[in-house]
């Protein structure tokens, strides 16, 4: 694998391999020495042009537990704040002999562009409203765990309702692409104002009727209402949004038996998800966070574990 820029970069074999290796990586968390030597001597730079706690931290931990040297660069306090262009910043770091960049950037397509400039491998940790492939992988990892815990295996035929702010979400696109490969059937649920343009070409059903989708869903994935990206006017009030598209206590009770809740975090409790749903027994939210490190370890291992991949 040269880069991980989009969830569509993964075929079924490589996606399954990443999830399988992540299972083994998760065990490292319970070991006395949380360290594997696989990436000793590799250097991974996490460069984040946008705020992030869980993604940046989990990538940093993932690299460290694999014995890579990880360095964090944030846009604040770097030469970016002095006006250096993205291209110059990346080429400067690349010239220092970095093996991989983990990049988050507010512009869609940024990771893709960087991959064309640098020698190092590039992992997209979120580019604007476009993609966030490792989030989709850890969602899939948590879902697969859940499916296995209720005695069913595989994604084939499973209904995954992705609900809420699809317009500003990079998580949704990566999930749609990854589930296209894994075999889950994604249903998109959102008010008309929060649908991205071109959603009809994504190949999944789109509805405004949350309750109908909820009754059928094996997984209900709630997306954060991204207030920071909204100039306003997408919906009348948060309360009204919660009534139409929030996972309220009443909707929690109406979920199919064996169905589970996902949320990529951070959650707006009381807006897209009620506290009762966030803390419910069938909520996978904390499992998702725990899976984040293991899945990112697996991604780093797949990209950097072998020199042969680098030559491709």
């Amino acid at each position: 694998m040269r880069h991980l820029l989009s969830a569509s970069d993964l075929d079924l074999a490589s996606a399954t391999s990443i999830l399988d290796v992540a299972e083994e990586m998760q065990q490292v968390q319970s070991r006395p020495v949380k360290k594997l030597p696989a990436l000793r001597g590799r250097t991974v730079v996490n460069i984040f042009f946008e705020d992030s706690t869980r993604t940046r931290t989990s990538f940093e931990i993932a690299g460290k537990w694999l014995s890579a040297d990880t360095i964090n660069v944030s846009a604040k306090g770097s030469s970016v704040s002095k006006g250096e262009s993205l291209r110059d910043t990346m080429l400067t770091l690349d010239a220092m002999g970095v093996d991989a960049f983990v990049i988050r950037h507010p512009s869609s397509g940024a990771a893709h562009q960087v991959a064309g400039w640098v020698q190092a491998k590039v992992i997209n940790a979120g580019d604007g409203q476009h993609e966030h492939p490792t989030q989709a992988l850890l969602d899939a990892y948590s879902m697969r765990h859940h499916f296995r815990s209720i005695g069913s295996d595989g994604f084939a035929g499973k209904k995954i309702a992705i609900v809420g702010d699809l317009l500003h979400s990079r998580v949704v696109r990566s999930n749609v692409l990854l589930q296209r490969t894994l075999g889950g059937r994604v249903v998109l649920v959102a008010p008309p104002t929060l649908l991205p343009t071109g959603v009809e070409t994504w190949g999944c059903p789109v509805t405004g009727d949350f309750d109908a989708a909820l009754a059928e869903a094996d997984i209900v994935m709630m997306l954060r209402v991204q207030r920071e990206r909204m100039a306003g006017g997408f919906f009348p009030s948060e309360r009204e949004y919660a009534e139409g598209y929030g996972l309220t206590e009443a909707r929690l009770a109406a979920m199919k038996p064996g169905a589970a809740i996902c949320h990529p975090g951070p959650m707006n409790r009381g807006v897209e998800i009620s506290s009762a749903a966030a803390d419910a027994a069938n909520s996978l939210v904390l499992d998702q966070v725990a899976a984040g490190v293991a899945v990112r370890m697996s991604v780093l291992y797949h990209l950097l574990g072998s020199d042969e991949g680098a030559k491709q």
């Binding site: 694998m1 391999s17 399988d20 290796v21 083994e24 990586m25 065990q27 070991r31 006395p32 020495v33 360290k35 594997l36 030597p37 696989a38 694999l66 291992y301 797949h302 574990g305 072998s306 020199d307 042969e308 991949g309």
Partner: protein
């Protein structure tokens, strides 16, 4: 560790059987007794099989030991993929299962593998163990010692010592995976 990719014979000459099923069973029975004798019983004993075939051999040894001692012995799996010294030189390897039965601090760990060749797998296994705890002692049990060591590693318990040329391929066949029990030598070159 046997490389799954190299398990299919590539030459037209079929490999020669050097140890058949009954002989293999007798070797394992003797090894089980030797392990118990060296350890003066099954106290604190943990058998860790190295995937793939070491895991099945460890299970068989554990069953034999349980028969002799009348009580079960702790058993686990130790994958060494991440500790290999040739990780970078090869395409991305899938990672096997590591399952350690409880704590191994102060236990006597017996590493179990099918073929001892260069000694690199065992060196990696010792590195892996170091990250999992501090056993009182680590011993090595292998079904076949075929020589040609590249590192200062020796086995404590050996089923069969076989003289080989470096380019011969020694393969352990186990009924759990291969349908029958045997040790074969092939002239296919390569490692194992």
């Amino acid at each position: 560790m046997a490389d799954p990719a190299s398990d299919t014979p590539t030459s037209g000459i079929s490999p020669r059987v050097v140890v058949d099923g009954p002989e293999l069973a007798r070797s394992l029975a003797r090894m089980a007794h030797q392990i118990l004798e060296a350890n003066r019983g099954a106290d604190d004993l943990v058998l860790l099989g190295i995937p793939t075939r070491g895991v099945f051999l460890a299970r068989r040894l554990a069953a034999l030991i349980a028969d002799i001692e009348g009580r079960p012995v702790r058993i686990g799996e130790l994958d060494i993929t991440m500790y290999r010294d040739d990780l970078r030189a090869n395409p991305t390897r899938s990672v096997g299962r590591t399952a350690i039965p409880g704590r191994i601090d102060d236990a006597v760990v017996v590493l179990v593998d099918d073929v001892l060749f260069s000694g690199r797998t065992i060196t990696a296994a010792i590195d892996a163990l170091r990250d999992l705890g501090r056993p009182r002692a680590v011993r090595l049990a292998v079904l076949v010692d075929r020589g040609h060591r590249e590192l200062p590693i020796a086995a404590d318990h050996v089923g069969r010592t076989i003289q080989t040329a470096a380019d011969e391929r020694v393969q352990v066949r186990l009924s759990e995976l291969d349908g029958d029990d045997a040790v074969t030598i092939g002239r296919t070159g390569g490692k194992r």
